[in-house]
């Protein structure tokens, strides 16, 4: 194809160079994808310059829609739209019933993993998150002009094992190989630390849409060592919205008496409250409206009133932060800096309270919406290309197993550095006992009901012995992604027993495989879509190269030739706007023909210039040698 010759020497983009992996911040409200090269981060934006992909999925008749387009559908087709699905990752149906701010979902019946019903179909949070990850992957592929199949994905530090496993499953469904799951505050610290060459103790306060995390890190010579972490996996900006929406509804009820809003109206009220919150981060006051059953009410709120509404929620985060410091036995004066992460840290009250706690102005000079993805991208580069920095993270929650009477025996404490392996010995409590049920839990409470159930499995084949004679070693291993595997073995006889771990709130056995099979069936459609995207990228590149060539060497074409070239370019532009890949390829080819003579003349000029340069160089070499 002669048009390729138009590219400036050395500036030729490599269409399918296999480059590094990307970093993805899969957020409750927004998702961001970034890529790093040579330690410099590029946050990937859409043509309008927006980095944030709203983590919103709409299930339309034509298939799923993700991002801004899906978010806009909230206005007219709220029933088809799913928001804040991250809050349900790794959760059981029972947990969801007790969570706040989930009135906007229709939960599917059943008591395993939480699933929601949208447009008459049941979806797991894993599938919905996979849609968001697919959109992030597609955006990266479009921008980079190559296939992207490896990623570092961030999760809240306080995510439990089930939520981490669910995130990894979602990536698998989206066709992404997860190089590493890293914690969001750690990723943010990485972006800041590398940026500023910081050393010493730092605190990261990360208040996102649905989760709150606080981490204490020690930065030294490129090593980011997490000392302690804490948080609340169900506390975030969404709760601010819900609290403000509650106020709106209470004000309405005071005027109009009790009402029962539809689910779509609840979603809209929440969206209105969210808008109000965002406006109140920079303006003093405003008035917002709520419409239920066709009747509209107006609600005036100023910053002071908003701060009263969210005060308790903010205090909870401050209390958790103080506890993490106290538990790590770190004096506030020893903390060299506080980093703010997450869109909710734009709320002035949050900033003021964090500043008051630490007695210093928090760092927020990297965009709090993009800093986590930037850190993930840096880590993706460090993992694939290599690099001097190292992240050493910890377990967020205590891991243990259920013992007699519903008590929990801790095996791995929280804030233990990962990867780790811990073994503990248990024994039988009945004569002749040949099997043992093992229930793995995670949490800080001493009773099983206060903790999250992670998995149950049975150990069979214990030789019959008197009670207390068997020695059953249970080993917990947590890998560098923070994911747990459990093994059990009877030691006295060396009998190894089969162990199957079934996550309590994960996808059921074989489900991932089924979903992957389904996506294989859709793979053809996906492939066609991808080829179209690639053709468009190629078209964009060709047009850009042509424009550059005409600018520098426009004098080489006469009016008639220029007319033909511009016609060809216009045809290509139109084809690229359509969905027919063959038409795009044909237009590229035709434009190639129309520019062949121009390209040749440019080559001549280029070679001429190069030769001139070379002869002078040779002459110089001869003279000096």
């Amino acid at each position: 194809m002669s048009l390729l010759q138009i590219h400036e020497p050395g500036a030729t983009p490599e269409p399918h160079a296999s480059g590094g992996a990307v970093g993805i911040d899969l957020g409750t409200t927004n998702t961001v994808v970034a890529v790093a090269q040579g330690g410099a981060v590029d946050v990937i934006r859409n043509p309008d310059g927006h980095a944030l992909i709203p983590s919103v999925v709409a299930y339309t008749a034509d298939g799923p829609l993700v991002g801004e387009a899906a978010r806009r559908m909230l206005l007219d087709d709220a029933d088809l739209v799913v928001t804040s699905i991250k809050r349900l990752m790794g959760r059981g149906a029972k947990d969801v019933a007790t969570m706040g701010g989930t009135a906007a979902y229709t939960m599917a019946p059943g008591d395993g993993m939480a699933r929601i019903v949208v447009a008459g179909r049941t979806y797991s949070p894993v599938e919905i998150s996979a849609e968001i990850l697919r959109a992030a992957k597609a955006r990266a592929e479009h921008a980079l002009g190559r296939t992207v199949d490896r990623a570092v994905i961030t999760v809240p530090a306080y995510f439990d094992d089930a939520a981490r496993a669910a995130t990894k499953d979602a990536a698998k469904l989206a066709g992404l190989d997860v190089l590493r799951l890293i914690n969001e505050p750690t990723a943010a610290a990485l972006a800041y630390g590398l940026d500023q060459g910081a050393e010493g103790l730092y605190a990261v306060y990360d208040l996102g849409g649905g989760t709150f995390d606080v981490s204490l890190l020690k930065l030294e010579k490129g090593v980011f060592r997490v000392i302690a972490t804490g948080g609340d996996a169900a506390l975030g900006g969404d709760d601010f919205d819900a609290a403000l929406a509650q106020r709106f509804l209470a004000e309405r009820a005071a005027i109009r008496g009790p009402e029962t809003p539809t689910q779509a109206e609840v979603k809209l009220t929440m969206a209105g409250a969210r808008l109000a919150k965002e406006c109140l981060s920079w303006q003093e006051r405003g008035t917002w409206c709520v419409e239920i059953g066709g009747a509209m009410t107006h609600h005036a709120v100023d910053q002071a009133a908003f701060e009263v509404v969210i005060a308790d929620l903010v205090e909870r985060t401050i209390g958790i932060t103080a506890d993490v410091l106290a538990e790590a036995r770190i004096a506030i004066a020893d903390v060299k800096g506080v980093v703010l992460v997450g869109g909710s840290t734009r709320v002035p009250l949050v900033r003021r309270r964090v500043q008051a706690l630490f007695g210093r102005e928090p760092l927020a000079d990297i965009n709090p919406d993009e800093v986590v993805a930037a850190g993930a991208a840096l880590q993706a580069e460090a993992l694939t290309v290599g690099g001097g920095t190292l992240l050493l993270d910890v377990t967020p929650l205590t891991l243990g197993i259920e013992t007699m009477g519903g008590l929990v025996e801790a095996i791995v404490p929280r804030n233990a550095p990962i990867p780790l392996a811990r073994a503990q010995e248990f024994t039988t409590y009945q004569d002749g006992q040949t099997a043992m049920a093992i229930h793995v839990v995670q949490g800080e409470r001493e009773t099983v009901d206060g903790c999250r159930s992670l998995a149950r499995f049975e150990l069979h084949g214990i030789p019959p012995m008197v009670a207390g004679a068997a020695r059953i070693g249970v080993t917990f291993a947590v890998d560098a992604d923070g994911l747990l595997t459990v093994a059990a073995r009877e030691r006295t006889t060396g009998v190894a027993a089969d162990v199957t771990v079934r996550p309590s709130y994960g996808l059921e056995e074989g489900e991932i495989e089924r979903l992957l099979r389904e996506s294989m069936i859709n793979a053809r459609a996906d492939m066609i879509k991808r080829l179209l995207i690639e053709a468009r990228v190629e078209a964009d590149r060709t047009l850009a190269a042509l424009a550059g060539a005409l600018k520098t060497d426009g004098d080489l074409v006469d009016a008639a030739e220029r007319h033909a070239i511009e016609d060809g370019a216009e045809t290509l532009r139109r084809a690229a706007a359509g969905t027919d890949r063959d038409a795009i390829a044909l237009a590229v080819e035709e434009l190639g023909r129309a520019t062949a003579a121009f390209a040749e003349r440019r080559m001549d000029r280029g070679i001429g210039a190069a030769l001139t340069g070379q002869s002078v160089e040779r002459l110089a070499a001869k003279l000096s040698g």
């Binding site: 506890d323 106290a326 460090a382 993992l383 190292l390 550095p417 990867p419 780790l420 392996a421 560098a480």
Partner: protein
């Protein structure tokens, strides 16, 4: 050797003690910063993040090495567990899960301080108690250091039990003061 610096290859896990794992001379008097430096330097070479794109076997070795480093670091960085580990290496292991105190002198001391903690009516009372506990723990660590250096293993075991009890007391006092809201600002 866990890691070959020339070919940057990770080796399978060797059966060595935690001190050797971190390249430290076995002993009680170790500086926090020295332990941390030794730990971090070794993680720089052995952590699984360094082997993401390598073969499965290397990745497994790296995970095992990194886990062993974490375990060594966890055991050695806290003076109490370091002392317990030294006793274990010397064949005088104390049962870490034993909750009962059989030393009558220590028992009397424990009863007395528990009572004092229960009677503490204000954050200031708890703070005074915690300061006293910290002073006792400092003295106990000094005693422990001398006995391990001697070595007087029986005396070291007794001092270790006392140090463990003092740590527990400090923990309880801390929880008590959290309940007062004294540490929260």
């Amino acid at each position: 050797m866990a890691f070959c610096a020339t070919c940057r290859a990770v080796q399978p896990l060797a059966a060595i003690d935690h001190f050797a794992r971190l390249g430290l001379r076995p002993g009680f008097d170790l500086d926090d910063a020295v332990i941390e430096r030794a730990y971090v330097d070794r993680q720089q070479d052995l952590h699984p993040d360094r082997f993401v794109t390598r073969r499965a076997q290397e990745r497994r070795y790296s995970a095992e090495q990194s886990m062993a480093l974490n375990e060594a670091f966890e055991v050695l960085r806290d003076p109490l567990s370091r002392a317990e580990y030294l006793l274990e290496l010397a064949g005088h292991g104390v049962d870490r899960h034993g909750e009962t105190i059989d030393d009558p002198e220590l028992l009397a001391e424990a009863l007395e301080s528990r009572e004092a903690l229960a009677d503490a009516g204000s954050p200031a009372d708890v703070a005074t108690l915690m300061a006293a506990t910290a002073r006792l723990a400092d003295a106990c660590r000094a005693d422990l250091s001398a006995r391990i250096a001697a070595p007087d293993w029986t005396g070291a075991a007794r001092a270790t039990r006392r140090l463990r009890y003092l740590a527990k007391l400090d923990d309880e006092a801390r929880r008590r003061s959290l309940a007062f809201g004294a540490i929260r600002t």
